[in-house]
Symmetry: C2
Subunit: 308 residues, 2 copies
């Protein structure tokens, strides 16, 4: 069990957050959001995905975004690469890290990438090896690691097996994803406990969603189990449009508040992060901001009207 | 450390939830809400407070409410009693349990009840002893147990000391309250760990607020520390009116969802609880419902529009 008090956040608003946004955000605005996030101390950024521009038009500017952002002081850019073509494009653009997504169930892989679990595992290993051949580190996501919308509850042993295969292929980091926000803290505790039996905790990250309001409780269960790497999204960007108040991604500002209040450091400056969230709200036209932010705003409002 | 998987919830919507509500809710409607909560499996209810009707007009019907509700099958009613007169009124009305509130800091007691910490401690002991003399159990709240709005961070040792004094006076249960919602899970873990060194965990409850979105994470920290008793409020009723989205009380439905998903039992039926929350929304004219409820609603909505 680690006694390390430093939490490393990978900010995913630009990729996971914007990916499903209906109207195209100009590259200039993405770069400005990226700069604001970086200024808030979020230097690890999952910035885009090298998928087919036809499949995800929002991320068609992947090359331009990475090549223009990669020189910013202190930045560390990650991008998803679903296949051989994607990883070559990502590396040619100058990403610092490549990310690859493997779903934990056969059905989810078939629905998502048209491959069996075995085929998808081999394809992920190929991406990881290609990255390694260029000396580029890779983050391997195991998605639907707790609950699959098609197959139901996922056995933790399967996740451990897939995780070890990704590490053996050369992945530098694992990211265990509760893709549909269906996990509870007991499940997070169980899976993290099992993973850390055979994998060093500093190579494991958690990607949590706040769909049912359990995001922070799950993150705390992860921290308690020794996990120190987390994905999160500024303002919770990436929420389901059907769910006002039930955000999708775990909000970075909520994670930071909880971690710092517990004596952990994140390197994130909250007021600067609120500025970034404000800007993300502007460019997406969506009301954004985790619970801690509405609390912080309210305190300002309350102060203005003389209340406590 | 307990291995007990049963969580006991004390539902506080009727007291903590309604107490600050601006317009008077008729006793009939309170009784109907109480019946709905009871039907959802919430048999432990903090129903009212025997304070001066002038101080809190909303709870001026305390006698009537308790005497009409106390015969309902399976119900266990608790009521706050701030002083000797309050406890005599409460017991005469037929409450099953009396609750008394002691703040953990001198300034908070002075602001709240016009007494020093020492005076307030003696007054609380008096309430507990009077209840015991009638063979009525008592719950002793230690409020602002983590953070005081006037004195700042509260030393855990002070809370343990006050808790032990309340138990020695005859309190049957302690309730550690994060009154202003300022605790994080690390603080909850620390204080619960310290308390359970000398007090059996089954005599300790947690009263948490969700002001900054940390309510569930704090509850999970409590469960992890062996705590099995929690206060919560249906729909999060009792939130600060200045904070849309930043609810005050931890929502019962969120706590139930988290606990049950982790293999704990609460005895609460969620759809029936949603009905009670719906009714509470109606009679208060407020949009209520924890995160899990907006998720559940959204699932229904999403199903209606054919989305996943």
């Amino acid at each position: 069990m680690t006694t390390d008090r430093q939490i490393r956040i990978t900010e995913v608003a630009l990729r996971d957050g914007l990916q499903g946004h209906a109207t195209l955000i100009p590259t200039e605005q993405k770069l400005e959001l990226l700069s604001l996030l970086l200024a808030a101390g979020l230097s690890n950024l999952e910035a885009t995905s090298f998928v087919s521009p036809k499949a995800v038009p929002q991320l068609a500017d992947a090359e331009e975004l990475i090549s223009r952002a990669r020189g910013l002081a202190g930045v560390r850019l990650s991008a998803l690469a679903p296949n051989a073509r994607g990883v070559e494009r990502a590396i040619a653009s100058g990403v610092h890290e490549v990310a690859v997504v493997l779903s934990a169930t056969d059905t989810m892989n078939r629905k998502n990438v048209g491959m069996s679990l075995h085929q998808a595992t081999v394809a992920s290993e190929d991406v990881i090896r290609r990255a390694a051949s260029h000396h580029v580190p890779s983050r391997a996501y195991i998605s639907v690691a707790f609950e699959c919308p098609f197959e139901g509850t996922v056995r933790p042993e399967v996740v451990v097996l897939l995780a070890r295969q990704m590490l053996e292929a050369g992945a530098t980091e694992l990211v265990i994803a509760d893709t549909i926000g269906a996990a509870g803290p007991a499940q997070v505790q169980e899976l993290c406990g099992l993973l850390t039996e055979s994998i060093p905790s500093d190579r494991i990250g958690l990607h949590l969603h706040d769909t049912r309001g359990l995001g922070l409780a799950n993150a705390w269960a992860g921290i308690s189990a020794g996990i120190r790497r987390f994905d999160s999204s500024a303002g919770g960007l990436g929420g389901c449009p059907f769910a006002p108040g039930a955000a999708g991604n775990l909000a970075t500002e909520d994670l930071v508040l909880m971690a710092e209040s517990g004596g952990y450091t994140t390197g994130v400056n909250l007021p600067a992060l609120y500025d970034a969230v404000q800007f993300a709200s502007q460019i997406t036209g969506r009301e954004l901001g985790g619970r801690s932010m509405s609390w912080a705003k309210t305190r300002r409002n309350a102060a203005l009207v003389g209340s406590s």
